[in-house]
């Protein structure tokens, strides 16, 4: 019996385990380690309309129990994704749900990429990443400004018929209020957390390690922050949550589910443990069996009761 079967925004997921955007390439990079179809869904690297080269210089730094990155959304662009990557995913037998993470520098760019993604039948869910800096409004992240977050969600909602998940940035004072705003403006679900803004200085060179000075902080070290935010957002909204941020074992996944996540997403921990998805899938099944839980969804938000 599959106790992990999940229906999320009307889509069937064989389990509530997905991968976080930017941590699983385009779904094939780990195929020599395990069958990607074991996942309920695959979150692919953030896409933009135009191909992007990303940031120059050092893009990765490590920190105790975590890492920072400033990849800068390097991606081959939607055209290349459609003409080369998607066919490659299909040729390699990927049948599980695909979650497309979309990004832009302006609201217009978000709308454009959303329109393009909407026409691709293989994409099951759209994830709107609002952690990008809004170039037109002075570089502040879309997700950090309630009005801009509302506007971009509303405009993207108009052009997509697919389930729309809005991915929230943790770099805000009150994440629950941002979650409420995107709910009111048409989000079907929220995912959180994206990376925390951080930096590392090399004391030998006396310079920032990352080419972009700042980077996104992720990994086990951020987990308590992420669990807290999922807990707060669960209380504030009536739409489901995809929880992520530092999940590195089955216990972590359970913690997120108990805090209120209907789905859990594995991010940077897969870099150090390529078998993590398999371990979490088996671990959740086992936990349900041993605790007499018919379906994993019985545990969603249980910490609030």
């Amino acid at each position: 019996m599959n106790r992990l079967q999940t229906k999320f925004l009307g889509v069937d997921f064989k389990n509530p385990i997905v991968t976080s955007s930017g941590c699983f390439g385009f779904g094939l990079e780990y195929k020599e380690y395990f069958d990607p179809n074991i996942l309920g869904g695959i979150g692919i690297k953030g896409l933009t309309v135009e191909p992007r080269d990303g940031n120059y210089g050092t893009r990765i730094a490590e920190t105790p129990a975590g890492m920072l990155n400033c990849v800068g959304l390097e991606n081959p662009g939607i055209d290349y994704f459609e003409s080369h990557i998607l066919p490659d995913m299909k040729a390699n037998g990927i049948t599980t749900n695909i979650i497309a993470n979309i990004n832009g520098k302006t609201v217009e760019e978000y709308v454009e990429i959303a329109k393009r993604v909407d026409k691709i039948p293989e994409i099951a869910v759209v994830e709107l990443n609002i952690s990008c800096p809004n170039v037109k409004d002075g570089g502040m992240a879309f997700g950090a400004n309630p009005e801009v977050a509302a506007r971009v969600t509303r405009e993207v909602r108009k052009v997509t018929s697919k389930p729309l998940v809005v991915k929230l940035s943790p770099n805000v004072t009150d994440i629950a209020s941002i979650a409420k705003i995107v709910e009111e403006n048409g989000a079907d679900a929220v995912s959180l957390i994206n990376t925390l803004l951080g930096m590392v200085i090399d004391i030998r060179t006396k310079k920032p390690v990352l080419g972009n000075t700042f980077g996104g902080f992720s990994g086990p070290a951020v987990k308590p922050v992420a669990v807290r935010m999922v807990y707060q957002v669960y209380k504030a909204v009536n739409i489901p949550i995809i929880g992520m941020g530092g999940i590195s074992c089955v216990e972590d996944a359970l913690e997120f589910i108990m805090a209120g996540a209907s789905m859990v997403s594995i991010g940077s921990a897969i870099f150090s443990n390529p078998m993590l998805a398999v371990e979490i899938e088996q671990g959740l099944q086992k936990y349900c069996e041993e605790n007499g839980i018919e379906n994993i969804n019985e545990l969603v938000g249980i910490a609030h009761r």
């Binding site: 955007s21 930017g22 941590c23 699983f24 390439g25 990079e29 780990y30 020599e32 380690y33 690297k45 953030g46 080269d53 990303g54 940031n55 120059y56 210089g57 050092t58 893009r59 990765i60 730094a61 490590e62 920190t63 105790p64 129990a65 975590g66 890492m67 920072l68 990155n69 400033c70 990849v71 800068g72 959304l73 390097e74 991606n75 990443n129 952690s131 990008c132 800096p133 570089g139 502040m140 992240a141 994206n194 990376t195 803004l197 080419g211 972009n212 000075t213 700042f214 980077g215 996104g216 902080f217 990994g219 086990p220 070290a221 940077s268 897969i270 870099f271 150090s272 390529p274 078998m275």
Partner: protein, 268 residues
Amino acid sequence: MFLENCEILENRLVAGHNYLMRVRGDKTIDPAKAGQFYMLQCKNGFYFLKRPISLHYVDKEKRELEFYYEVKGGGTKDLAFMKVGEIINIQGPLGTGFSTDMKDQELLVVGGGMGMAPMKLLIEALSKSNKVTFIAGGRDGVAMEIMSNFSLDGIETHITTDDGSVGTKGNVIVKMEELMKDKKFDMVFTCGPQKMMEAVAKTAKKYSTKCEISLEARMACGVKACVGCSIKTKVGMKKVCHDGPVFDSETIVDFDPVLEKTETCCGN
């Protein structure tokens, strides 16, 4: 499967801060070739990411892998603390290796400092059916201690050190110039500090000789999933972990690209 728990057979100080680790492999051995690397898991859970380390040598009969590494920071220090009999998780072999399937060619191998790591296997692979000349360079005698682990019978070897404590005083480029002036090499292979490889590539180009270099980048995944090690080349963005670490030097636009700083950062 490219992920394996291996028993440590040896983990000894060679000299200075440089160590040699030998492990028993099984699944990860057969495809391994010179210039490829492995991701080594540090013992301490404190270190989140694995460390990329080049394959120093593989003995397919004995089913053993060797890594030569320098203690630079906490992660490699952690590796140095590991004891014989302990288990280390390794992932690999990863990336492309050096080209080794040529025959009857005059080849020049230039290694500098820690860049000597992949050269043991490379020289063995190349010398089977080619004539190999080896220039080994380092700061001092300590850097050259690893030479005792190389099998260099029949290999024309030149050692240079900055302080002249072993071999000739000077750097590998002076020696390279000296050799290339008199002899036509079919190909040059190099691994070492960035500045050195840049100069090696320039010298090779001056003599119209093809050159393969092994680049480094900070890596998180090692399998082109994180896009962390990406560099700009003449043929587009390439991942050092997957399309490299070995590249034809001609495709490299800029060894040390000027950082394009942006005001804001979304982190990803």
